[in-house]
């Protein structure tokens, strides 16, 4: 077995209620590594033949929950959730920082591959002994906090009773969904701990479609062997030391510094569904959050020295008792400025609520902002919603979040995600509302705009295999493979350091380096993702000429702020896109070329890709 891997993956068929262990050969692991990369390979093998017919929310879809060979060893321990996305109908690698990942590695498994659909709600419990399905009907319908508390206690009690008198057990690692996931809201996230989410891709809905409420894992074994243990020890200490020096801003403020900075300095923050991108509202700066609401300044995920999580709690007033982590920049933007809300308290309340309902704070909130713009324009009315939806009214957005999670009234349409909701509402209301939908390839765009030219580059989203995902954005066709590596190794991007390549060699023993990754392995993973994007289906087929572009709003001039008038240059987008496609070996419309597929050993994709070419 290659070093760094336990070598065992659990394959669970929820329909047949059986589980078995499986493994991959060394060549596959070296080529795809783990996490996002290996997910692409698994999904291609299992679903590739009739990709376009696979319903992302049907039992045939496969949900992968994978770690990588460096998870739990290199700082910043994450786990990567993937499958056929109900939003983009392609593969999205969605990672979340959590002890779930380290517990899984301690249990002697590298990941889970889940298919089928359980008859009634279940959760999966993974221990050193293997995996079992347990009844989850008592937690079905519960909000996040309750689910977490109930399942933690239940699993600890169960495991302590199986092995009495052997000492205290720390709580298990847990991935779970809230009501939004259960009700198949396409933007729903998979949640871990309190409010950590694998948000992009809509995998919460995939779990819901499988009647799978949660996955709990408790491992007590050692980590897998590494190729050069002494080197790894030295490297670990050195990377920790470096991160302590280099990541001071994130250590001190988390990403919360963005709540004011990105709007004020860069004019790239979504405000009222991206109608503006600039604000100078200092009350939305981090000191107002930290002095009043932060009860703990440093919370880390396993093995992370950065601790970007700050813990917020509201202790007085009508939202007393709401707890959330930070909120980080994305949620400050999407659950704050994007709703026209500039009060820290309201933003914390909505963050806590969104996580409890199991929405994705970015994707779900984007849809909510979209709905509010339609209300502003008189397209959605009070009778569609049951209440008024004015910018800045936190109580109204609170109601809207619940409405969508429960799929009530127009919430049932909005639960389909911004792209699908825009199409449906255009039909129902007989006006074209698609210009207000800020998504790329079905995935709602993260809180970083392209118009001022000071934040993301013009093709960050337009050319990306993961659409609006703000983490995995496109740069030059070389350096953007780095995030693909962190998603495949599976580690936290904030813990990035050049020593990761030495680390990778010391762990696996393979001759792996940045150049090889960026020109071979990374390219292969992106090419598989791009191919699935092109195949799409069954309800959505993307047109590379039309859909691989920024949302219309990103071509409107900025209406306010120091960068007023600036916008994304359409010609530049077209030129950059062609350059990028060439760099990664795709034709000028973004379809992988015959030579690229041959070079990467992906010949099986040639027949389908051939049909896509012009």
């Amino acid at each position: 077995m290659p070093r760094g891997y336990a070598g065992n993956y659990l394959e669970v068929d929820l329909s047949k209620e059986n589980t078995r262990e499986t493994s991959f050969d060394e060549a596959t692991l070296e080529a795809y590594f783990g996490g996002r990369g290996l997910a692409a390979k698994i999904l291609l093998d299992k679903l590739g033949k009739n990709w376009a017919e696979v319903d992302p929310l049907g039992p045939e879809n496969v949900l992968t929950v994978l770690t990588g060979p460096m998870t739990g060893i290199y700082p910043g321990t994450r786990v990567c959730c993937s499958g056929k996305s109900p939003l983009s109908n392609s593969i999205v690698g969605s990672t979340v920082s959590s002890e779930f990942a380290s517990e899984l590695r301690f249990s002697g498994f590298d990941g889970l591959i889940i298919k089928g659909k359980a008859n009634s709600p279940v959760y999966i419990l993974v221990t050193d002994e293997g995996c079992e399905l347990r009844d989850a009907s008592h937690v079905w319908g519960m909000l996040g906090e309750e689910t977490l508390k109930t399942l933690n206690a239940e699993v600890v009690n169960e495991l302590e009773s199986r092995k009495p008198k052997s000492g205290r057990l720390r709580e298990p690692g847990l991935l779970y969904i809230g009501p939004a996931g259960e009700n198949l809201v396409r933007t729903a996230a998979i949640i871990s701990k309190l409010g950590h989410a694998a948000g992009y891709g809509g995998y919460g809905a995939v779990m819901g479609s499988k009647n799978l409420k949660a996955i709990a894992v408790k491992g007590r074994g050692p980590m897998p062997d590494v190729a050069a243990p002494e080197t790894v020890k030295i490297l670990l200490r050195e990377v920790q030391r470096r991160l302590a020096r280099t990541q001071t801003r994130i250590r001190f403020w988390g990403t919360a510094y963005g709540g004011y900075s990105i709007g004020a300095e860069r004019s790239a923050e979504p405000i009222r569904n991206w109608q503006e991108e600039w604000h100078d509202e200092k009350r939305f700066g981090v000191p107002y959050f930290s002095t009043r609401f932060w009860v703990k300044r440093s919370c880390s995920d396993f093995n992370c020295i950065i601790g970007c999580m700050k813990l917020s709690c509201i202790k007085t007033g009508k939202w007393k008792g709401d707890i959330t982590d930070t909120p980080d920049y994305e949620l400050q933007a999407y659950l704050g400025t994007n709703f026209g809300i500039f009060a820290p308290e309201a933003c914390i309340h909505l963050s806590s609520l969104i996580d409890n309902l199991g929405h994705s704070g970015i994707n779900g909130a984007n849809t909510m902002g979209f709905a509010a713009e339609l209300y502003q324009r008189g397209i959605l009315k009070k009778e569609d919603l049951g209440f008024e939806l004015k910018w800045g009214d936190a109580d109204a957005f609170d109601k809207l979040a619940r409405l969508i999670a429960e799929r009530k009234k127009v919430g049932n349409v909005l639960a389909e995600g911004t792209y699908r909701a825009a199409k449906k509402i255009s039909e129902i209301k007989d006006v074209d509302v698609t210009p207000y939908a800020v998504h790329v390839k079905g995935i709602e765009v993260g809180a970083h705009g392209t118009r001022s030219g000071l934040d993301k580059n013009p093709i960050s989203y337009a050319a990306s295999t993961q659409g609006g995902d703000h983490m995995s954005t496109v740069r030059d066709g070389y350096n953007d493979m780095l995030i693909v590596f962190y998603d495949s190794s599976v580690n936290c991007w904030f813990c990035r350091d050049d020593l990761i390549w030495d680390f990778a060699r010391a762990i696996t023993g393979w001759e792996i380096n940045k150049h090889k990754w960026c020109t071979d392995q990374g390219q292969r993973i992106l090419t598989v993702e791009q191919a699935t994007l092109l195949m799409g289906g069954p309800d959505v087929f993307w047109d590379p000429d039309k859909d691989f572009d920024n949302p219309p709003r990103f071509y409107e001039p900025l209406p306010t702020g120091p960068h007023k008038g600036k916008t994304t240059n359409k010609d530049l987008v077209e030129r950059l896109k062609k350059g990028y496609y060439e760099a990664v070996g795709w034709d000028e419309r973004g379809v992988p070329t015959t030579e690229t597929l041959a070079k990467l050993g992906l010949k099986e994709l040639e027949p389908t890709m051939k049909k896509m070419r012009k």
């Binding site: 050193d128 906090e145 977490l148 508390k149 933690n152 206690a153 009495p164 008198k165 052997s166 000492g167 205290r168 720390r170 709580e171 701990k193 309190l194 409010g195 007590r220 074994g221 050692p222 200490r237 920790q240 030391r241 302590a244 250590r251 009860v295 703990k296 440093s298 919370c299 020295i305 999580m309 813990l311 709690c313 202790k315 007393k320 008792g321 707890i323 982590d325």
Partner: protein
């Protein structure tokens, strides 16, 4: 702990009267003269779990693989965890000399759930009453 911010280090406090040592039926536990840490003789340990029950903080545990009691031995007096914590700039762990610890050390031998409950109230106020 289930809620963030309630992570509790769960380590031996070197109680002045060492209830664990007294409880061991086979004499597998002893106290290191220099460091005052409890040392487990793995050869002698029979995995009965009595020391866990005797400890006011349920600190010892049976190792998942070899099934023998595990108690922190303070790395022989120069603990690695303290170094790592200092390097990271957290300064949450310090070595304190015995003279500064003029307080009954058994007070610090507490069950992690118990500590987490108190911490929760400290951090979250009234809400803290419900979370653990």
């Amino acid at each position: 702990m289930p809620f963030p911010g309630l992570e509790v280090p769960h380590l031996c406090a070197q109680c002045d009267d060492y209830p664990c040592v007294k409880s061991c039926p086979v004499g597998a536990l002893s106290v290191d003269e220099n460091t005052k840490a409890v040392i487990v003789d793995q050869e002698k340990c029979t995995s009965c779990g009595d020391c866990i029950e005797a400890c006011p903080g349920n600190v010892p545990f049976l190792h998942p693989k070899h099934n023998k009691a595990v108690i922190c031995d303070l790395c022989g007096g120069d603990p690695e965890c303290v170094k790592a914590c200092q390097e990271g700039g957290f300064n949450a762990l310090h070595l304190v000399s015995d003279s500064r610890m003029d307080i009954h050390k058994k007070l610090f031998a507490r069950d992690p759930l118990d500590v987490a409950k108190d911490l929760a109230i400290n951090l979250f106020g009234e809400k803290g009453e419900e979370v653990v």
